[in-house]
Structures are given as C-alpha cells and as structure tokens.
C-alpha cells in the first residue's frame, strides 16, 4: 500500500504528471486513474493506493471503513468480510476490503433511504400485508 500526501508533491511535479497524462497516455483505465490521482492531489486529498493483494490489519481496515475496531471485528466474526490468520492475528487483503466497502456503501444507502422514507414508506407498507 502506498500513501502520498499532497504536502509531499510539488506543483511542478503535478504539472509534469498532468502533461504526461495529456500528451503521452492513450485513453483508457490508466489515464483515468492517473487523472483522478492528480485531481485529488490538487484538491488537497491524500492518495492511498493498494494492490489487491496488499494486506491490512483489522485496525487499518477499521480506519478505511470508518468503523470502530470492535465493529470491524464483529463484521469479521460474522464472516461478512474475508480474512486470513497469521498466527493469532487476522489479516485482510485489500481486494477483499474494497469489495466489502462497496457492499457496506450499499447497506448505508439502503439505511439512508429507510431514514428518509417517512410517511410515504408508512403508507406503502400497508400494501405488504393483508
């Protein structure tokens, strides 16, 4: 896993990168990816990139997902997020973590819809039972 903070990248470097992207890279996934990297750095975001076989500890995974460690351990114990054991320690592959994050986002979207449903959901619910 690589972390690049915006403070570690000069404006000159970013301009060089953007020039290479524009001039030398054909359209495709790589061009899109690097364009996003430079856009994010320009707006002051830190870049975190991982190969899908990079390894996260439960603490790191909890941080990525925005959860307490306890909550993350419950997710692991329920088998919802894959992990492997190194001795007594749990380790999570980046590919599995980010795939799980998409499922988590979907659950969060559904919960947001539930919170906002209000009286419309209340009325529609009576169509669901006799």
């Amino acid at each position: 896993m690589t972390i690049v903070k915006p403070t570690e990248v000069s404006s000159t470097e970013l301009s060089s990168l953007e020039s290479i992207i524009d001039v030398e890279l054909p359209s495709g996934a790589l061009k899109t990816f690097l364009t996003n990297v430079s856009t994010d750095l320009r707006r002051g975001a830190t870049i975190v990139s991982a190969a899908d076989d990079d390894i996260y500890t439960p603490s790191e995974a909890a941080h990525v997902l925005g959860l307490s460690r306890t909550h993350l351990y419950k997710v692991l114990d329920a088998g919802a997020l894959k992990y492997h054991s190194v001795g007594s320690h749990k380790r999570i592959l980046a590919g599995d973590l980010f795939e799980y994050r998409n499922r988590m986002f979907e659950a969060q979207r559904q919960t947001a819809i539930a919170f906002s449903g209000g009286t419309l959901a209340d009325d529609l619910a009576i169509d669901e039972f006799e």
């Binding site: 306890t70 329920a78 499922r103």
Partner: protein, 360 residues
Amino acid sequence: MARSRRVTLRCLCADFHQDWDDSSDEVCAKALRGIVAQRIDEKARDSDVASVLRRMRPLSQLRHPMIHAFDTGFSSEDDGGILRQSIKSVKDRQWLKQTYSSRWRGAAIEIKDTAWLCSAGYHREGSPEDFYTKFASECSESSDGFLPQKEDAELERIDKKIADRDAWTAQLHLSTLVLLAHAMDSSAAGPLTFPRPNHDDNVPVSESNIAVRLDISVETVDVDGDEASEIFVKIASEDPNSQLNQIATRVILAAIDSEPQAWSTTWISAKENLHSVILTNEIAHRATETRTAGAISARDVPGAVRLGTVAHWTREDGLTQATLQGDPVHALCGHWFVPMHDHASRELCQECAAVGLPDD
C-alpha cells in the same frame, strides 16, 4: 374502552350540504369516497387510500357540529344511564335519533361495537322535507340502503391495517428500548423476533412468519484513546427490500438515536445489517426509563427522525436528479443521505468542510 364511532361515506358526502366549520373537511370526505371507490374497482391500492386518510381527521372528528354531537353522544362505553329515542316510524330495525341544536336531526345505529351515523338532515317541523319524515318515507320498504355499505366496510378494513401497522411500529420502538436496557445490564440481549403487522396472536411466532429479528449488545470501545460504550444493533429481515423492513430499520434505530449521522452501518449478509452508535447518557436514561414504565414516553414518536440538521457537500454529479428521485448521495464526510431540504439554511457539516472543496 370507548365505543368506536363512524359515519357512513354516503351520509358524509350526500347529507352535509351546509354548516361545516371547516370546508376542507368536506373536500377531504369527498376525495376519500372517491379513492375508496377506485380501490373497490381495483384502480387504486390500499396505500392510496391511506395517504388520503393521512391528510384528514378521523371521520367521526370531522368538523361539522352534527358529527361532533354524534361523536360525543356515543363516546361512552355503553348506554348505561343514557336514554336514547328510537325512530319509531321505521320498523325493520332500531334506528336511534341523533340531534344537534334545533336544526339538525340524524339516524344512528349500533352494529356490534360500533355506533354509525348513517343519515342526517334539517329539522323542519310539519314539513315533508323534515328529516324524520323523509327518512321514514325512504325506509318505507326497507332501511337497508342506509346501513354501512361495501365502501364503508372497505374503509374499515384499511383503517384496521393502518392501526395494525401503527401498533407494530409502537411495539418495535418499545421493545428496542427495553432490549437495549437489558443489554446495558448484561452486555447482550436478544434475539427478539417480530411477526408481520397482521399476525394473529393465537398463532405462535416461528421461522416461517418472522418479519424482523433484532439483537442488541453494548460493548466498551476505544474512541481516539478514550473509552466509550458502543451499542450494536443487528437487524435481520425476511425481505430486506420491503417497505416493512425500511420502517422497521427506521423505527428501531430512531428509537435509540434519531440522528442518522450518528450511526455506522455495515453489511453482514443479504438479509442482515449491523448498525452501531455511541451510548450516551441521554440514550441510557431513555432506555431504562422506558423499561421501568413499560410504555413509550409521551415525548417519543416511533419512527421520528431528525433529518436535514446539517448541510453536506458531495462530489456526486446529478445532485438535482437524486433530490427529485429520493436517491441517496455520498457526502464528503462519508455519510450517506437522501438530499431533500434547502441546504442554504443549514449549518455546514464540519467534517465536509475539513475535507474541502475541489479547486476550480
């Protein structure tokens, strides 16, 4: 318990030409009759009738003085000590006289545990237009036409479903707080299972008729070096995509903390999510108070959510479309929300502000 009081739709829409205290009630009554007719013809759903009912008062509390007189006149459990006069000119069944001032007269009937106001009109002494004279004439062969009709039965059926749903949400809210109080004492409580709103209490709850399963635990966690207690709420649903599941999720979580941003939600399986929130003194107090009382506090409204408390920034394109369609968007701070309110009047989310805006 007070007797149920109802007014037939025919009486409501055809007999009360004048003297409404609020004419919008008359408009609502006619709209209601129309949508019930469409429901009978299967051109509308029960929910369409429910949404019209939501915008009006119960029928027996619509603002007409004659309806009010009927509602209060039959509000006791039974007629002990009350002398009611029958309409003697109608022989095929017992119709009871209902009056309001010198002007209004009506005919009511008791069927099982419900008093119905079925007809009303002006009192005109000595005139063929007098209500009782006209009523007797129209009932000369039979008074069946004034009884509650199919449209009234249909409305009663839908009213009962609404009452079942409201009782179900109240039960969810109460049970959630009681279960939380137990979890605070012994770290974990549950599962509690809830059948669907129309569940027959004589039928045992089993795997085949569970709508929602609820588990709650409370654990000590580390939050930035400080200890705190975190509440974990696992909700499993027979049909995660149903409106009932959405309501259950909203009612259960809002019972504990009605601020959506306070919650962390994770996927456990296709039918289960795990939600967590920090246990505050306010939540702890409300849970123990509710368990002690064995009833929902008058301050609590099952399912009430505090939406739109802050304005968020999102990088999402199509924010207008999301607002129109009720789709959630992802805020810079990580919170998922359905955009709906005027953001300009809200304070900006501090975490979104810290993430910052893109350079133009």
